[in-house]
Amino acid sequence: MNQQTIITARNLDLTFETNDGPVHALKDVNLDINKGDFVSFIGPSGCGKTTFLRCIAGLETPTAGEISVNGMTPDEARRARAYGYVFQAAGLYPWRTIGGNIKLPLEIMGFDKAEQAERVQRVLDLVDLTGFDRKFPWQLSGGMQQRASIARALAFDADILLMDEPFGALDEIVRDHLNEQLLQLWARTEKTIAFVTHSIPEAVYLSTKIVVMSPRPGRISDVIESTLPRERPLDIRDSPEFIEIAHRVRDGLRAGHADDV
């Protein structure tokens, strides 16, 4: 496996000025993400996991420290369209068909028509929505909409996929299914994925690296390298190895909370 580091954060600090005074969203965050990694960020609300993802995306600007994405600043990386971002809600435009929604980034980035059509078909295949390009979002279930939004993030072939609790609003059965599909997709496309979640089984099942975070101030309390194989059937979740990693994550979360009480 290639061990090239593509995302680096050094002593990252971010303070939001709010009406109730400053909120320390991130404090002294250091992290390396290697090419091809599947990194999960897990922690309670307010631990800064989403904020950190938004820093990588250049949607928030850290108040101190350094962060680089593909050797560039996050803002330069954003302008170079280095990543696809999947939000908590699918956020498909209701007035565009599924195909039209996936074309949105391609139109903005100026791909020609033939290429757009070809890419829409390719990513729809990837997320198992072949034949749905003419449907409108309201004709699809929540899980299918979220898959379409993943397809939209994949359409322009960025190497990095940033996902902010993409399955948080879905029920557990759909979520299991999408987790399995996401792993297959990751294996096929060899993308680097940063994935925010607050589900321990989801984090352990998906990740090669689990970043446990704790709140007030948001910081990293543990980084766990997963020992699970890359090939993961759903029933791996019953294996002793899986349970052990889940334990470690839970301990990390508890330790983070302990300072707080």
Partner: protein, 306 residues
Amino acid sequence: MKSVLPILTVIAAILLFWVVSVVPMNMHLVADQAQRDALVVTPDTPAARQDYSGTGLALRNPHLIPLTYTFVRPRLPSPHQVAGEMYKTIFGQKITSKRSLVFHGWVTLAPTLLGFLIGTTLGILLAVGIVYSRVMDLSVMPWAIVSQTIPILALAPMVIVVLGSMGVQGLIPKSIIAAYLSFFPVVVGMVKGLRSPDSMQLDLLRTYSASKSQGFWALRLPASAPYLFASLKIGISASLVGTIVAELPTGARAGFGARMLVGDQYGQPLVSWAALFAAAITAAALVGVFSVIERITLKRMGMNAS
């Protein structure tokens, strides 16, 4: 089809109220006329009759009640009289005739449509400016609100007179009043519509590094469509009201507004009422047209019309 029954019920209730009101409203006039025609009327002097309400007089002279519905110059015409007058002036005249309501309708409709076009265009442009420029947001919006607090009835003659003295007459001054009334709902609706995309949708465009104009065409403009249609429906009826108001105090010789005034001044209430109803029907038709366009457009856009 379910909505037809409640609508018909309301219309029936209004008609009933109208029909019942005709009797007391016209009773005194009918009694005076009946006396001149040598019919028996109690009490038998107009002065004595003033002591009675319309209803009281009707109860003492039940034989005169039918006459209140056919009186030539009634205070309140009965529905069939208005319908008859409308039929006569819409279908019974050549549409080029000055007695034709269709002719007067077009005289009012043309400035309504032109004014609506001007008002809508102006409203959309202002809304785009307000959404994209903080300076415009702070400077234009308060004036737009203030503009609507000026009584249009006071403003209309001034606009017509000033423009008249500059040699501008006919269509344009009326269109300006219509535009003045219709731009406001469009500004308010469009500002809300253009601002309707949530922060997540705006962030999504930032991750694509989309330009402001791409964001406008791809996200803000289509997202504003439902708001725009709601505004257009208010705007078109406001335009019609504006045009009629512009015709009222300015001695216009044609148009719904002129007909209403002429009917009042020359003691021909049927003319006023026919013009009033024709204007209402025109407004309903215009709003109806926009409702249909709205439904088709939003359906094609995959959004369910409200």
